[in-house]
Amino acid sequence: MLIQESDLVLYNLTLQRQSNYIHSSTGNFVNADTLTKSQNSLQLCLATENHIELYDLSKRNLQKIGNDIPFFAIIKNIKTLRHPTLDIDYLVITSDSGNLSILKFVWNSDTSTLALSPLCIEPVARSEVRRLSPMEYIAVDKQSRCLMISSVEKFKFCYLLNCNNINTSNVNDSPNNGIISSPLEAIRSNFITLDLVACEMGYIDNPCFASLEMEITTSKKNRNFFHLVFYMMDLNLNCIVKKADYLLPGKPNMLIPLTDLAEYGILTNIDNNQYKNNDTTNPFVMVALEDSLLIKDLKGYYNIKVSLPKCRDHLSPAVVISHAYRSFKKQIFILLQTNYGDLFKLQIIPNQNEGNKPQCIINYFDTIPVAEQLHITTNGLLFANSETHSNYLFQFEGLGSDEGEEIFTFSRTLQNLSILEKKSTSNYMTAANVVKNSSNQAVVPLKLFTNTEDSIIKSYTNSVDVETLISSPLPPGPKNIWTLKRRLDDEFHSYVTLAFNQYTVFLNISGESMQTLSFEDPAPFVMKNDMTIYMTTLNPNILIQVCSNQFTQVATTSDGSGFDQIHEWFPPAGIQIVSATSTVSQLIIGLSNNNIIYFELKGNGTTLIESSKTLTMESKIVKLAVDQDKFRCDHLVVATEDDQLINVVSIDTSHSNFMEILSFQQLNDEINDVVMNETSFYVGLKNGIYVKSKFAKKDGEILTTNQRFMGARPVTLSVIYKVLLTLQDKEDEDDDEEENNEKKTTGLEEEHNKNEFGRCVVIHSDSVWLDYEYKQMEYIRPILLFGHRSYLNRITQFSTSTIPNNGMCALSSSGALIIGKMKNFVNTGNWFNKQDIKLVEKTTNADEDNDDDEEEEEEEEEEEEQIQPQEYQNKIILPVNDGEYTMFIDNHNDTSFPKCRISILNSNSNQIILDSLSKTPYHFVEGFQSICAQIVNFTKNKNFVNLVISTRDQHLLTFQLNTETSKKGAFYTLNLLHKTKVESTAFSMVTLNNKLFVTILNFLIIYDLGKKQLLKKSITKVTSTTNASTAIDVWDNSRVAIGDVHESVTIYQYDEDTNQFYPIADDIVKRHVTTLKFIDSNTVVGGDRFGNLWTLRIPVDVDESKVMKYTASPHNNVMEAPYKLELKDHYFINDIPMWCSSVSSVQMSDRPSILYGGLQGTIGILIPLLSKLQIKIIMKLQEGIVNLESLIITDRMSKVTIYNEGEDKEEQDDEYNREVWASQKSKDGFHPEGYTSLVDRDHFKYRSYYAPVKNVIDGDLCETFLNLSSYEQSLICKTIGKKTKIDDVILLLNEIRSNYM
């Protein structure tokens, strides 16, 4: 693809996937023994439209298994397919690819990754979501003999399955086509299918499906006829038979299949009761009607109507919307949920008075949020996959009463269920505020607020959390800190050494306390008149203290109480020690005369032997570094001052080049600090740049270098050698449990997989950053210290029995010693740390307004296990005072009593600001429903800002907003100044020159503050095509972009002299704009209602005087603006963009980027790519991944030719060739089908769902490169360039994540 200079090439990364789980399914997808030790394996598969997640429920909680599986297609439906003989389940998926896929989950316990592998991909229909493609419904026979798929209109296909053809032995099994037969069709024109279910039939019966169909009427007079149709798959004749067709009364919506009722002693076949056993099963289904249910059977004997119990509070009829059932030995237990969220328990029992005919008993059970699907698991849990907001896992506490009832009163507290786990989702995210850099913090980690759930604000931060456990003040001027082990093989640290300018303090750690260590005279260590520059423990029990003028070697006695000084070493007179570093057995010292002296422990001796060979550097030594965690290290890194060089020196004593410089790297500024880790060294420069280089183990040659700007201060570094990168908050809570703490902690360590541990480099500049690697990806992310404003100067590893993992000891800038714990490391699968900020529920007693009381109440509420009803829904989130505060405006759900409420949060400290009148977080505005709002600073006085809310009933409400912080806490005051009646509802507004800019009907209006109402200062008529503006943005108070509900974007020029707006450019395509932002004066980025993101640009330099003189042609709709916008980028994200924000620098990144959020919870970023070469490489990478299937085939073909010719067989033994041979030899041959997409969806077509993708690269797809095998990776690299190595591609992907955002 040709890249033009004017093109804006963006790289899209989904930081958080959407969480609108529209499908869910339970089963045993992954073998139990490979995953958990528990016998009972039970998993839940949750799917959104574009990804799948798997959870383990066997331990009575929601334990996520592995990673998300992205699809790059629209999943239409999923169902579980049980293997008839083996205890393993598969997944049947229909998608917009037009294929029916049967997939198998593959769990790799070594890398702890989850993958799906296709067993068969069967083309069924055309691609895309169509009403005639049989993709909407899937029903799988219980015995796994066949499955039926159905479209909404006309088509039903039935496939016979042969699960025995599935080869389960081999993980890398090729897709097998003997699983699925050719389809049998059942076509009914002029019918809309409302639901399709599989009836539970015995093995001797033919499979049977029931479908609810609606006849299409062509005239208004005819009412729709609803049919219940039973289809039977005749296995002997191999055809589908329409067994029965019943007309249904009322307005049925869905079907609920029932188990074979005959098993529960219910008379199912009326005619020939005595031959019941020989007869075929008579399947039953329930039809959900308004306020009732209807039980029907295939043979048409029964027509039982069950009325739902009524509630006085519910005005409109209740409809069953979801169900779950579980059959026990003696009874059937069915849970039904209505649209009000009420759960009913339905029992079907034989009516002994009427010859065992079925009888139904229905009871009120509980009220939970409305669920998309309910699942009752075999271990007695209920999972509610909620339509919006959080999903819940419940445990049954009771089974409710057994007597039927007709009227019930619902209760908010759970009666028969208790919450085991709440899985909060971001579904239904309407707005967000990205916290911008503010003055009092050097670097704000990427942070944004959303409010998807009632009274809970979600804060998303992209940083590693540090929880402070202990903070104690220190004497002034601490310089450095070290934690030491008594013996090297000790598990935990015993001493902490603090270095001050002229003295040193030793602390002893005993249990959970820490005391100053005092020594008998003479002290074994140098305590005074010298500065400690380095401390370490050498093998096995030797402590080394390096000071400026000497170093001492001290052995700890075996009981640990005493210290014996073994040796002291002094540099030549007048020379000082500048730097020192050590491994477990080596000690290297740099002197002020530029000499480097090498010491080593030989054999089991306790004395350090000085090497006779020294190295003299040409320039002053700044710092030495070796890999300190190793027993021996072969390379030493020396940073020198004047020539700004990093030298790699060999310290391999067995080699002839011992103490010789192998290679060096020139840096562009003075070096401040250097550390080393395996074969990489990390350099901190004085100009705030952090450099990361890798060198070759063999000859010390420098291979790759990576740089990142960290801040204005010189960069200092430290290394933490062992960190558990998967430590989350939850595990932390487990640790807090007092009982069996030690056992638990040791157990914990065993539990963690080796690859969950890693090393990290701590980078100190303006703020503290961590550089760590997890699953091939490298991350440089900031540290967020809870509850502290101060900054950490020095960080060192720290572990005790209470903090076995991730402990750290640090010196803070305020001069305190901080012991804390690092947790919540972010990674690609979990980019944001989510924190729920609970706004206190409005207290029932207005008197109790103490903070403490409220907190207590909150806790009590939690204990009561109430599910808070969703009374309010967030509508608007606004930054106040340049982002210092964030304002949330929520609307009441019940629109018949319009009401909205306002709450304010401090953006930096997450502290809730209280309303000064009510002393609660909320300010209520009764009688109005908010549409949009804006903070306007009419008076230009920062202390008095105004809030304007546009309401649905065509008013603009103007409030005066004051915020104040006093000793009692932070408060805000909102005073309603006046209401302004406007001609129509204003759907969007912005500030322009400290005035309010609104579009109302066809006018652009500027309002200024008046005494009794807002005053119109300027009125301009918009172009005639504009209907209703849904999004507005302003650039530099001179240009406004107006996004229309379906007429795309028009950009206007504002002229202050004439106080008028002049159209500059409009679009040639109708876009249904939802959000809009300027990224420069000529370019806007926006999203539309169909899930697309696009950027539009005015193609030329605008001559403003020309624009003002331009008169549109007298004909409507023809060239209303002098210029036309040009489409620069277009991309389908499969979620409706609700907000976007252009961020000038995300966490000190080197470029601006665009953050966006979608309705279903997607958070993504668009990163501009700048260099042409880089764009070409990434485009080729994307192309390579997309075309992987054909690459493998061509590669295989070429290999086969060589193989057949019998040439150079011996040369074929490199790794990837062997893989190819192996796959060729497998009995079914090699099918690369499903490599790129599990459902075989063309990636380009998916991203071009509505319009061709333009200049946007799918970063999510590019990152799947990391999960490919080395053979596949090398094939892709070949297409990028002849010399491209796999590492280069991984480095590039890493650079985007760590440097560009």
């Binding site: 809309i192 062509t218 919506n253 429903q929």
Partner: protein
Amino acid sequence: MSDKQRQRQMYANLKQKHVGIGNQDTSKEEWLANVKRDTYYSLLAHSSLLEYTTMARNQSQQGPNHTKKQMKWELLNKMGHSGDQQ
């Protein structure tokens, strides 16, 4: 004549498979009905659009909130009615 016959047959054949196609004899109502059905289906079959539509409906209409399932059924019912004479 046979050509015309064949064309007609081909058209009938295609019409069987793809309901939405039309020819010069297609009435406005039939064409509109297909457009409407496609639109309603698109609204109910894309999870984001269904959620958006439900949300918008709940905010603008008085009375209790609809669930996404109810919205879906309503749209399905509309598909069945979309042949109505205007």
